[in-house]
Symmetry: C2
Subunit: 310 residues, 2 copies
């Protein structure tokens, strides 16, 4: 019996992990600090604040999961890069991992980030080749967590997989981020002010990312694995791909915003490990996933705001 | 007014930090999880378990220290290298640092270790040159803590100093460790079984280490600083230096124990930063400190065991 404790289960990535976990036969115990969604067969919801180590330990002792899929972190748009809460979540993650192992847990997969890599040059980021040199607190904290978690696993019976996420898009994304900002501007017939769009990034649909994470959990691969598309796109190409799906297309003001200083020219994953070792590859094209995402946002905007009756 | 929160204040190093802190004009708030020693002028004792983040935060809010000198960790002889408690202390240290900063703290100095360095070759370990490649959980955890603490400090008003300890000896050392084991064997007229003694190490008296830590705290030096003697001695030289102080000298069985696999040939600190930037240098020679240490152990052995009256 595979029983998984899924943290951050109402978050951007975590919410998408539930269906693939069920599909692979996991008994899913989903944790959130927010109010718990209504029950679905095969999913047991737990409301707990994982920043409280006592509660995290009690949860592990109650559930006795064999597997841990840990997404919970402080990810507030813009703020998370340098937020002091990165320390709290590093601490909480270490405490959760300890409690999980003490309660008999055997395999944990945690969310890492492309921000752990040295951002320099035109090479793809590869797990076993690119230097780890995070330059912001978020990346430093994730990298530190990975190093301690791995060394801890080496001392015991625990296996650790570490999925490094690159750039995501999809339903429930913060509307201030690139993809939803362009879609919402197009839906609302507003012009889009952007940079020259020349930097190259690796975009993946969040449901694919969650599915790949579950594949990693369900494998016996250990260590860091890039969870990414491996596809190179300039920001300009992403914006144009969205704009083309609207008639008339939104007006895009290229170069209206400066490219941030220190912004790397290219951030794309080498996905050899994900494809060949984990055995995961996407079932849908970027175009298909983008169309789905636009439809989702169209529905959100279409839903009338709740106005209290007077 | 300089007010310091001193953790691990009844431990091997921490207990030696109290006198130098008082000498430099600090209002000392000493924390221990054990029973608190009797009061000394200028020292306020607090009994608290820092593994409980709530208690650590309450302590910082009560004391409102300007400075933090953090020694508390799991350091049980032999066990600490791979103990799962290294995760607990990494978490607790991050939480303490957060609470300290939130309560207005400005400068923190934490205890690191030579086990953070790559142990290879004949070069001295230098803070800005030797690669950081710890290979056991203790060193990994300390290195991870340092990286997160430094990145956190870079985002705010906090200064972080990180003292890397090498090999210590002195009063209250665990009697299973090299220096006390040799002294106790000599005092008790037992032969000493040891390795061939060829590896080279950097030994420092614990009171010097604590004094150097306080000098680092009282400076404005940030980042990693080796807290060490910078003096090269083979284990054979250390044992012989002890043996010479006894008449008759103890019988030493060289080579009776194997050198551990993976034991590095040389571990000696480059102490340029400590000497030139912190401005600290020892006031006593190795010979003087060793004689003091032997006297201390002689007194311990000389004190009759407490036998309950019947």
């Amino acid at each position: 019996m595979k029983r998984v404790l899924l943290t951050g289960a109402t978050g951007f990535v975590g919410r998408n992990a539930i269906a693939p976990l069920l599909a692979r036969g996991y008994d899913v115990h989903a944790v959130t600090s927010r109010s718990t969604p209504s029950s679905v067969s095969g999913v047991t919801w737990h409301r707990a604040d994982l920043l409280d180590a006592t509660k995290a330990a009690a949860l592990c002792n109650d559930v006795r999961p064999t597997s841990l899929l840990h997404f919970a972190w402080m990810v507030e748009h813009g703020a998370f890069w340098n937020a002091p809460q990165n320390l709290d979540w590093t601490a909480a993650s270490l405490q959760l991992l300890r409690a999980f192992a003490d309660a008999g847990g055997r395999r944990a997969v945690l969310a890492g980030t492309c921000a752990e890599y040295l951002w320099e040059g035109e090479e793809r980021c590869a797990e076993q080749r690119t230097p780890l040199r995070p330059n912001r607190l978020y990346g430093v904290a994730k990298n530190a967590l990975h190093s301690v978690a791995s060394a801890f696993a080496n001392e015991g019976d625990l296996e650790i997989g570490w999925g490094r996420l690159f750039f995501l898009y999809g339903p429930h994304e913060d509307p201030r981020r690139l993809v939803p900002a362009i879609i919402l501007a197009a839906l609302q017939h507003r012009p889009v002010a952007t940079t020259d769009g020349r930097v190259i990034r690796d975009f993946m649909h969040v449901a694919d990312a969650a599915d790949a994470f579950v594949a990693l959990l369900d494998s016996d691969v250990t260590g860091a694995v890039n969870i990414a598309s491996g596809e190179e796109r300039t920001i300009r190409q992403v914006i144009e791909a969205i704009a083309e799906k609207f008639e008339p297309p939104p007006e895009v003001l290229w170069g209206a915003q400066p490219t941030r200083i220190g912004e790397p020219a290219k951030l794309v994953a080498d996905v050899t490990r994900l494809r060949d070792e984990v055995g995961w590859s996407p079932q849908f094209s970027f175009e298909e996933r983008l169309s789905e995402t636009i439809e989702w946002w169209r529905e959100q905007v279409g839903v009338p705001a709740m106005v209290p009756s007077v």
